[in-house]
Amino acid sequence: MSRHEMSRHKITGDGTIQLGHGSGGVLTRELIRDVFLARFDNPALAPLMDSALVKIGGSEVAFTTDAYVVKPLEFPGGDIGTLAVCGTINDLAVMGAQPVALSCAVIMQEGLEIELVERITQSMQRAAAGAGVPIVTGDTKVVERASCDGLFITTAGLGVFDGPDRPRGTLRDGDAVIVSGALGDHGTAVLVAREGLKIASSVESDCAALNGLVEALRPFFSGIRIMRDPTRGGLATTLNEFVEGAAGVGIVLREGDVPLSDGVAAICELLGLDPLYIANEGKLVLVCDAAVAGKVVAAMRAHPLGARACAVGTVTPTYPGRVCLETTVGGLRVVDMLVADQLPRIC
């Protein structure tokens, strides 16, 4: 038994799945590494990217799947259906692929109102049509009451590549880190809705399909090293994943440049949450050659989903393997990977 396995047993007593295993942070990664990757390992899975690259005949396609279990099912700015479509499209788009088709599997609990299912399905249709990606196959299952929390959706997607260029470079000293807009809207909107916090909030989820925004960046693909949509675990976790595989470099973020909406900033202050760890569902983060950074930001800003795009950090050899933050007051701290879901402070 490895040392961390022993530690795990110390906490749970019997090595059971905890909610933290689904947070997208360290526990999720360990679960994937120790349980799933250990058994399923193959060259397409091993990189653990948002989509797998699979050869079909002579051409390469991007293939991805994702499950959606958000609570509540409907929240300000979206619902589980919109998320299920946009999230899978985004996992294809950030690989530089053009999404062409989606599947959807819906697991419903007995007693669920059909009207709610219709609303969610309508959202899926609207999101898919808006992104130009049809849902071409699916499945439905109904389970007993209390077997699932209302409704779960799993979507899978296929994407193709148009031309040889796609982001797959390695991070280099001086590269720019760019985000497409204000962070934390989705996670904050869901938190407020889920917990029924008595906070007057105008924050809405940012969930959106990013394939159009990515298309606008296609001319710069040769200068873009890596792209992701920073969902669970937020920007902090995504950037930690970037530097984990990068030899000899880290990232320094500039706190003052990280865009936040007023509502997200206020709620984070109030509850003691760090917006860098809060989930997004319609944002792009990328690392690119400093030489094209200005053009990438300009191209993003010309697209409706990238209006607040800006550079927020730099790749540097000073802190290898680390993401650090230059705080607004001139301090410096580490920004580590998310461990488990953030909880509001006690006092």
């Binding site: 490895s2 110390k10 906490i11 802190y319 650090c324 007051v329 410096l332 701290r333 580490v334 953030q342």
Partner: protein, 379 residues
Amino acid sequence: MDVPDGFRDREVVQALARRIDATARRIGAGPAGRTLTFMEVCGTHTMAMHRFGLHALLPDGVRLLSGPGCPVCVTPNRLVDTAIAYARLNDVTLMTFGDMLKVPGSTSSLSAEKSRGRDVRLVYSPTDAVEVARANPERRIVFFAIGFETTTPTCAAAVLAAREAALENFFVVSAGKLLPPALEALATGEVRIDGFVCPGHVSVVTGFGIYRDVVEKHHIPCVITGFEPVDMLKAVLMLTEQVAAGEARIENEYNRVVRPEGNPIAQQVMAEVFVPVDSEWRGIGMIPASGLAVREVFSAHDALRQLPVEVEPPREHKGCICGAVLRGARTPLECTLFATACTPAYPVGACMVSSEGTCAAYYKYGKDRPHVAPRNVAP
């Protein structure tokens, strides 16, 4: 809500750091001289220092130690085990603040009990637990009430609300703690403390009086302050200046919020429901009159009186030095478990669990200052 930008002004913060350095040097504190040791006794201050990277701005001759200011951290194993024992009762819903769920007790945690199907829920406010009691008359709601003077008035208000509504199914496990006895213990402890950075939140409730003994009996300066970078460094400067002048006074940097008399209504509510009793602090031991028990008159809502429960014998975790960390006697970096066997993902000690815990802050924000340590490679 406005984020107070003025209290995060880079120029002001840098200027304060320079003034701290100059004042410290004037009295021989610096790289080759003595070190002034101040202690922040509030977990939110600990997190603010790390979150804004302020340790990196303090000069060599001034260090800020974290004290026992996190209610999750100072709650002893015996009480965590008691809460776990309640959670294991079939008709009990155990409710508490979020971080408490993850604290390892002797053999389990509330989070582990929850994953096994026990009804364990987190609350954002103690009054939420009262609402759950009202809506679920067939269940017994046990609220695990941890906290200092900051949160205790709301716990007291919850008990009052339960009595007002004649709820027979609402109980609290009172694990509240009082700050002044802990300050006394620290002032006479093994670490020489040159000044206390005093918690703004607690002081809002208590007022200045609680610091009088520390200042007068022990000649240790106290500065009450807020949680913004300017607040924190200004407090450190004010303490450094007091030391330089050979003085020990109570100063209030947080006068935009804290009044000398505190909040009399909150004090009155707290005193109506709770009574001070001797209490065990993790790592410090028993401190006289430092805890809060439910008064006899409210015993109908006192879980410890009404719901006798068998609690497993407490077992401490070998190698964990949370106790010494809470006293300021050791830093997390001196713990052999830190960042190896004990991480936020797999915490051994309470200080690694709580978001306000010293070990969690060290781990999350860089493990050391101002140098940023290389990534810890998981075993």
